[in-house]
């Protein structure tokens, strides 16, 4: 399959570039660890507040941080594609016989691999602090991070390549980031929110993904919320990858 071969070639190049300058990987890792170290202990004090889910506070907190890592680990990669476009790399690749979908898929794959490494480190730190879940739950968490990371990375590449301007991409991402963080219950579970706010958050798909992961981390796998959360993540990822490929194709129209 030439698409797979081309994806692998684009992935290898992108991965080697990331490994050559791992500063960004490390910076991306420090932020979630800071959340665990500096914010997690606060949350454990809140476990008795009405509305806070029962059980280990870390099992409630870490799913949110993992979803956040998936979203924001992917969301900012669009800046990279703008600078690649500016240096002529994108046009150069477009003029090769490579499949258009491979040009984006290879880059998304690199982002997902970086994200998975970050997630494993984050989970290890969290276990040190008191996270206590079976390995199967951790594997499902990594699946969700993969889906979200792939979706946001594809979306960010699409936005970056469509806008071709850091000055336009930055405000777009900032505008989206804040409501997503606040309404998906990443930091505090939405079950603590007043009714109207819960209803607003119900339309945010990422809230359901956080809920799904929290259920899994509390030992419930065969419940509706898990199916909804993972189903949404899957559909969202497919949609974003399709959109990303369309934007790459439209570059030569």
């Amino acid at each position: 399959m030439t698409v797979l071969r081309d994806t692998w070639i684009v992935f290898k190049r992108a991965m080697l570039l990331s490994l050559q300058n791992p500063a960004w990987v490390i910076i991306g890792l420090i932020q979630p660890i800071l959340y665990i170290v500096l914010f997690g202990p606060l949350l454990t004090q809140m476990a008795n507040v009405p509305g806070f889910p029962p059980g280990n506070a870390w099992n409630v907190f870490v799913p949110g941080i993992l979803v956040q890592l998936g979203i924001f680990g992917g969301a900012f990669v669009g800046f990279g594609i703008i600078s690649e476009w500016r240096s002529g790399v994108i046009d150069r690749m477009m003029v090769t016989p490579a499949a258009r979908s491979a040009l984006i898929a290879g880059r998304v794959l690199r982002d997902v691999v970086v994200l998975l490494v970050q997630s494993v480190v984050l989970i290890a730190v969290a276990i040190g602090f008191g996270l206590d879940v079976p390995v199967s739950a951790l594997l499902l968490a990594l699946v969700l991070v993969t889906l979200l990371g792939a979706a946001f990375s594809a979306l960010s590449y699409a936005a970056g390549l469509a806008l071709k301007s850091e000055d336009a991409l930055a405000p777009l991402l900032n505008t989206l980031a804040l409501p997503i963080v606040l309404l998906s219950g990443i930091l505090l579970p939405m079950s603590m929110a007043p009714m109207w706010l819960q209803h607003v958050s119900d339309v945010v798909p990422f809230k359901h993904m956080v809920d799904a992961l929290r259920a899994i981390f509390q030992g419930q796998i065969w419940v509706a919320s898990v199916g909804i959360g993972f189903g949404l993540a899957f559909v969202f990822a497919i949609l974003c990858l399709w959109l990303g490929t369309q934007v790459f194709r439209s570059q030569t129209r």
């Binding site: 070639i9 570039l17 240096s87 002529g88 790399v89 690749m93 003029v95 490579a98 030569t252």
Partner: protein
């Protein structure tokens, strides 16, 4: 096929058009271009900024779909077989081909792999091409650490790694210092002479087009306005530019009369004590001109004959300077 294409023709375009939608309405960037490029030539595509050069080039390399018209590039139809075109051409964009953080070797090998060339072969070809372009020893350096001229030569190496029959260079020498430009030109000639690759290059520099190209296409306002060798095009300008400086402006009326009497003279203009006009074969006209002026009691203190440049050609063809 009724429309027989010679085997020596590498690009044949008919009626290529491209319109862009903008907020102000539809803009016709390219208004119907016919062009034919023969194998083994260096063809210069010359025109001012905004004339439609890059748009035409992007259509020919499959980066933009033509709104109308058709073209065959290295035997493949632009519309029906863009992948076939991509396999057979190299393209070096104006803004480069490499990431500044990437190592030279990584860019070369990954680029070659996209054409299905195995890694070992890519490395062998890459080292060989780098050597041919005086870039030995840069394999493990980052592309951003190369000088402007080196980086530009690396771009051409990238464009040639899959041994295309035809390579497109978009404004190859823009931003280079004069020495690097001259050096780049000799390398571009080498691409044709040593590799037998046809080169299609765009430029808005007259000297570049003049010194490099076997054939020239002049584009203005989205249409081809002239085609031919540089000598052909220069012969279309009425003649050489003659400039005479007189001792005093008082002598001007007499001098103008003498100039107008020269066979084929045109465009006689005077300004202060400087007289300018055009005449064919200026170098042969000059001695007789000075003799006639002397007979009229006028003694010029300076005389100059200038061969027409492509700049003059462009001015004659389009009525405007290339710098406008």
């Amino acid at each position: 096929m009724t429309d027989q294409i010679s085997t020596d023709t590498i690009i044949r375009a008919r009626g290529l058009k491209r319109t862009f939608k903008t907020r102000g309405g539809m803009v016709e960037a390219v208004k119907g271009i016919d062009l034919t490029v023969e194998r083994g030539r260096i063809v210069g595509f010359l025109g001012p900024n905004g004339a439609g050069k890059s748009t035409t080039l992007k259509m020919l390399v499959t980066l933009l779909t033509p709104t109308e018209g058709q073209a065959t590039v290295v035997g493949c139809d632009l519309r029906n077989d863009p992948v076939g075109v991509r396999r057979r051409i190299g393209y070096v964009a104006q803004n480069g081909t490499t990431s500044p953080e990437a190592k030279v070797g990584l860019e070369i090998v990954s680029h070659a792999e996209l054409y299905g060339i195995p890694r070992a072969e890519a490395r062998r070809r890459g080292e060989e091409l780098l050597g041919a372009f005086d870039l030995d020893g840069v394999w493990t350096r980052t592309c951003g650490s190369l000088s402007g001229g080196q980086r530009r030569r690396l771009d051409i190496v990238m464009g040639l790694i899959h041994r295309p029959e035809l390579v497109f260079l978009d404004e190859p020498s823009t931003g280079l210092d004069p020495q690097s430009r001259a050096n780049l030109w000799s390398h571009i000639r080498g691409v044709r002479d040593r590799l037998g690759t046809t080169v299609f290059l765009t430029t808005h520099y007259m000297d570049e087009a003049d010194s490099l190209s076997d054939n020239l296409l002049v584009i203005d306002h989205g249409k081809i306005v002239a085609e031919g060798t540089s000598a052909d095009l220069k012969s279309r300008v009425r003649g050489d530019a003659m400039t005479l400086t007189l001792r005093s402006p008082d002598q001007m009326p007499g001098a103008v009369a003498v100039a107008q009497a020269v066979a084929g003279a045109g465009n006689v203009q005077s300004e202060g004590n400087v007289l300018r006009f055009q005449a064919p074969n200026g170098a042969m006209v000059l001695p007789g001109l000075i003799r006639d002026l002397g007979a009229a009691g006028i003694e010029p203190i300076g005389a100059e004959v200038a061969r027409p440049t492509l700049e003059d050609v462009f001015l004659t063809l389009t009525g405007r300077s290339l710098r406008d």
